[in-house]
Structures are given as structure tokens and as C-alpha cells.
Symmetry: C2
Subunit: 339 residues, 2 copies
């Protein structure tokens, strides 16, 4: 029987408006993808569209209409299916990864093993996840730091007009390890000027200080930086990695950027071959999408999978980051259930 | 229960003495590795040691003594086990890949799926395999070409003193597609001089013309070559790939060099990220070892898996290359049985 794809809209709300250098909001909508095989098994995935990467809720739904008839009848044909989808319609990574996730969930369920086990991984090797403090007023920042009491590492969103005050407010409120993500918000000159400030505040990682296509800017900052420099917006798929070698210390892999779980694993292999640090990040999404990425965290160095932890209510139970520790489900496939 | 490793010596004999630029013989001995879990499942692998890569039958047996107590009790922990082995004792790739193969066979059997399916691959995507004509007298060469009647593509071993005569003998005996492997036997200057000759003889691929560490020699030949140049001895593991980018067109992956099935898959991902051609080769080994490599041929461009087809008698049934076409078993795991 042909694999059947159906969708469901998910309405998500963050506890606080989630603001980064490019703006932000409280209300997010994602698309849940369900793929059913002829034996009554069902695999789930989530598409978290972001305008920055060219997708909206509507483009995801439209792309899924193109992809759905191409699934064939064998969910184990992961390689051929992913090639077919990408050939039929490029880009649309969030839509494609929802299908990739649902197929992997289905395969894991059919084989009776959780994804981490399917991939031969050791869940105990998963690093701790950061928890992100988005931009806000000093008062709310202090409240957020308090609410994040259980998380040992905080990621601070900079790249706006009040970076110093924001960093000072958070540092005054906590002695925890801090990592910084400027989301393309700085110039290379400003970033180099910020480096000693970040060091003074004990920041341990700097993510994407400058524009995505400013590879020379990244290289310039890299030459001056004593803390690891990670490319996020500059690294979308495996094709981007080789030109980043020597210009940054590592890459941030996100499923909604790279379009497939197999592509994420390939990116890890490629980054490792270049001795790069590997980070995995996420969008604002439910535990459904987060869990897909969580299953391969035993292979990475830096985890930032707080997308569901930032929500006021999460429609699913799956991988979690209680106390910052990534916990992986032991049920077959993704191991995600509805709350 | 701790995974139990046992071994068995395999005595192999090629139909003809198998002679390449470094010499050759008719009698080969490999080590069969068997790993048994607590449920009575058994996975098999084969270690084909070659002195060129620093291994003999004896070093394989000795290395296996070091590796056997490190397997633990869970064959699904493929990543952690492979890391433990490599940390405990570097190198010894043939010994390690026999374990990696046996673990994958075991995992496939436990899950009830053939390895190609476990990896999400489509067996129909496997390219045709070459069949190798080793160095020999004109008379035997003609006989070998006749014996290879079923194979549409021949790989010719050059790098000796009679290359031109040898190539002429084979071309006179057949109009088939020819590929050439010089096994490090040429200098860069000689290789460039040979290029128009190879073209004239309709050779379509040139493998490893010069010494393994002569990367500038490879680059020099690459600048002059109109046919794809493939690195074999110059490319042992994933760590070798980045320095070959721009110097060759592709890499030849062999399990006995890279030490693990997971490493082979990583090498494919890395080569693809650099737009390189991917070839998979083998040693003189039985269908047990050949089948492990055959399972990932749907991901490669060039297949040279004739190691068992060159034998007078093959102790196993598994993947085959009848008429040059790679055929993959459908039984769980490797799908290899004793004859």
C-alpha cells in the first residue's frame, strides 16, 4: 500500500515573546506530518517553518502536497525517498524534514527500536543542552533567568542595540556558563570589539556574529577569537561546510535547515572529518520536532534543543532537557506521544 | 550476557596467481570473526589482512585478543563499541572491520532486516562491478579475459615493466570497457606520459598511478588527465579525504583500510560533500567480506568487488556479481551462509 500522508496544524505559544536580532513573537504555528503504512503503523514529524529560510506555514502545506504522492510504498527506502523529494522540489527543508522524521519514526516503530538505537548510539553520550534567554527588558530578563533555574548553561541572544546592558543584567543575575548567539546582528569590526567583552563576561561560545554570507567576516573574527566560533545561518546543508573550514570552529546543524535526518548525520561526519565542533540547534517547535534532533545528540558536542522547553504548553511528550540533560525516549521510533 | 567473539581461519585460493605492481600469490588466509549474543544470534565478519596496510594473519589474531573483551553486552551500541576498539588499539583496520561487520550482521539479524534495508538503501541503485585482470603472461591474460566473459567491465592491473604489451594483449582480446589500476607503480612524469596511451586504449578510469603519499604527483596527473583519477592507497580513512580535494576526482573506499562500516558511510558522505566520485574496492577475500561492502554499493559510483569472484572456491554464499551486476541478499543482516 502507498504510504499515506496527512497533516495537522499545531498552535504553539512561548512562555515569553521570543525575541532575537531579527525580531520575534509569542505565537508559532507548525505542521505535524503523519505517515501511515499498510500495517497500521504511523510515523510523525514536525515542520517548523521560518521566513528567514524561505518557509511559512503556507509554503510547508503547499510543498507537502507535492511531496505526498512521491512517498511510494516502502518506508525503509529512506535514501531513495529523500532523493525523490529533493529532486521534485528543492528547498522547503522544514517540509522535507517533517517527512524524513515521520519516515524514521515509522521505520523505528516497524523495527521495534528507538531511533538512537537504530543509529547505534549511546544515549549516555548526549551533552547537556543550553536554555535560551531571548532579548527583553531588564526586569523580564531577570525573571527569565530565575525561571531557567534548572538549566546549568544559558544561551544569550545578542545582536541588538542594548547588548552590553543585556549581558550585564544576565551576568548580575547568575554565575552560570553563558553562550552568545548574535544571529547575524554584528559587523565583523563590532564583533572583534565585542570579543574581549564576551571574555570578560565569561562567555564560552560565540554563534553567528555576522551576516550569513560574510565568510571573510567570520574568518576575521575567528583569527581574533579565543572562544569557539560557530556558524549557524552560514551553514544550512553539507554543501556549506567545506568553505567554512578554517573560518569557524564549528557548525550548528538544525533539521529545519538541512531537510533530512540523513543529511544531519552526513553533516556530522563531514564536520568531524574537518575537526570541527558540532552543535545541534532547533526552532521554536514542539517536543515532536525536538525529539528528532535529540536522538542524534550522542554524536555532537554542543546541544541547544530548548525549542519545546520555551513553550507555555507542549502538545507532545518526547525527549526532554530536564536540568539541561538530554533524556531520550526508549519507546520505538521517535518515542513521542501526545500529552 | 557479554558478546562472545570466536574466530576461524579461512584458506582461500585464487583461480590464477593474483599479481599486482607490488607482487602477488595464489594462497590467501583470512580470519572469520563470529560474535554471539545472549539470545543465540550470531554475526559474522571477515578480516583480510594485507602487509601493505600493516597487517598479517597473525597481527589480526593478536589484535582480536585485545578487542574481544571490549565488546560489552549490547551489539546495538555500534558507535560506542567502535570508539572503544579504536581507542584501545589504533590501526589494525582489517581486524576492526571484521568486528564491525559481525556486529552489523548481528544487529540486522536481531532486527530482521538485510543491511541494505537497515541503511535505508535501494538495492536496484547498485552500479555494476568490474572484474580484475591481474598481471600475467600474454597467454594467461587472454585466458583470463575469456574466463571473464560474463563481466562487462574489466579492471587491468598496471604499474609493472610490461604495461604497454599487457594493455595491448587485453585490448586485442576484448572490446570491453577497461579501467586501470597502477597500484602506486608509476612516477608522475611516467603517468602523464601514459595518459594519451590509456585514452587511446579506451581506458575510462585511472586508479592510484603514483605513491600513496605523493599528493602533488596526483595533482600533477589530475591537471593533465581527461579520465577520472581515483585515489586508493592515498585514501585510507575519512581523515585523508580533505587533502585529496582538487587533487583527484574520487576515492576508493575499502573496508580493510577504513576499519568500520560506519566509517565507510562517513567517507561516502564526506566525498559527496566535495563532489568526489566514490568507488568501493576490496581485497582478496571470501563472499563474507565482499558482502559487507556490497550492502552499501547503492551509495557509490564505481564498484570493484571481485575479491570472491577471483577465488577458485568460495566458502560462503552472499552478495554476488553475476554478469557484473551486484546482487544483494534479502535475508536479515549480511545474508551470508556457508556453502
Amino acid at each position: 500500500m502507498t504510504l499515506q500522508l496527512s497533516t495537522e496544524l499545531l498552535s504553539l505559544r512561548t512562555r515569553h515573546p521570543f525575541i532575537i536580532a531579527r525580531g520575534g513573537q509569542s505565537d508559532y504555528r507548525t505542521v505535524m506530518v503523519k505517515i501511515r503504512d499498510g500495517d497500521g503503523n504511523e510515523g510523525w514529524g514536525e515542520a517548523a517553518a521560518t521566513r528567514y529560510y524561505g518557509e511559512t506555514l503556507e509554503t510547508v502545506q503547499a510543498a507537502l502536497l507535492t511531496y505526498a504522492p512521491l512517498l511510494g510504498d516502502d518506508p525503509h527506502q529512506l535514501d531513495a525517498i529523500e532523493r525523490r523529494l529533493e529532486t521534485a522540489l528543492h528547498g522547503n527543508a522544514a517540509a522535507r524534514v517533517a517527512i524524513s522524521t515521520a519516515l524514521h519514526d515509522l521505520v523505528g516503530k516497524r523495527l521495534g527500536v528507538p531511533l538512537w538505537q537504530y543509529w547505534g548510539l549511546d544515549p549516555a553520550a548526549a551533552p547537556r543542552s543550553t536554555f535560551t534567554i531571548g532579548m527583553d527588558t531588564p526586569e523580564i530578563l531577570r525573571q527569565k533567568v530565575q525561571e531557567a533555574a534548572e538549566y546549568p548553561i544559558l544561551k544569550v541572544k545578542l545582536g541588538g542595540p542594548n547588548d552590553l546592558a543585556l549581558l550585564q543584567t544576565i551576568r548580575d543575575a547568575t554565575a552560570k556558563e553563558l553562550r552568545v548567539d548574535a544571529n547575524c546582528g554584528w559587523t565583523p569590526v563590532h564583533a572583534v570589539r565585542m570579543l574581549p567583552v564576551l571574555e570578560e563576561f565569561g562567555v564560552t561560545v560565540l554563534e553567528q556574529p555576522v551576516a550569513a554570507d560574510d565568510l571573510e567576516g567570520l574568518a576575521h573574527i575567528h583569527r581574533h577569537a579565543r572562544i569557539p566560533l560557530i556558524a549557524d545561518e552560514s551553514c544550512v546543508t553539507s554543501a556549506d561546510i567545506s568553505r567554512l573550514v578554517g573560518r569557524v570552529d564549528g557548525i550548528n546543524i538544525k533539521l529545519a535547515k538541512c531537510g533530512s535526518l540523513r543529511e544531519a548525520l552526513r553533516m556530522i561526519a563531514i564536520a568531524r572529518a574537518h575537526q570541527m565542533t558540532v552543535m545541534v540547534g532547533c526552532m521554536i517547535e514542539s517536543s515532536l520536532g525536538i525529539t528528532a534532533a535529540a536522538h542524534f545528540t550522542p554524536l555532537v558536542d554542543i546541544v541547544d534543543l530548548d525549542g519545546a522547553a520555551l513553550l507555555a504548553q507542549d502538545p507532545f511528550r518526547g525527549a526532554g532537557i530536564p536540568g539541561g540533560q538530554v533524556t531520550l525516549p526508549t519507546a520505538p521510533g521517535l518515542g513521542v506521544t501526545r500529552r
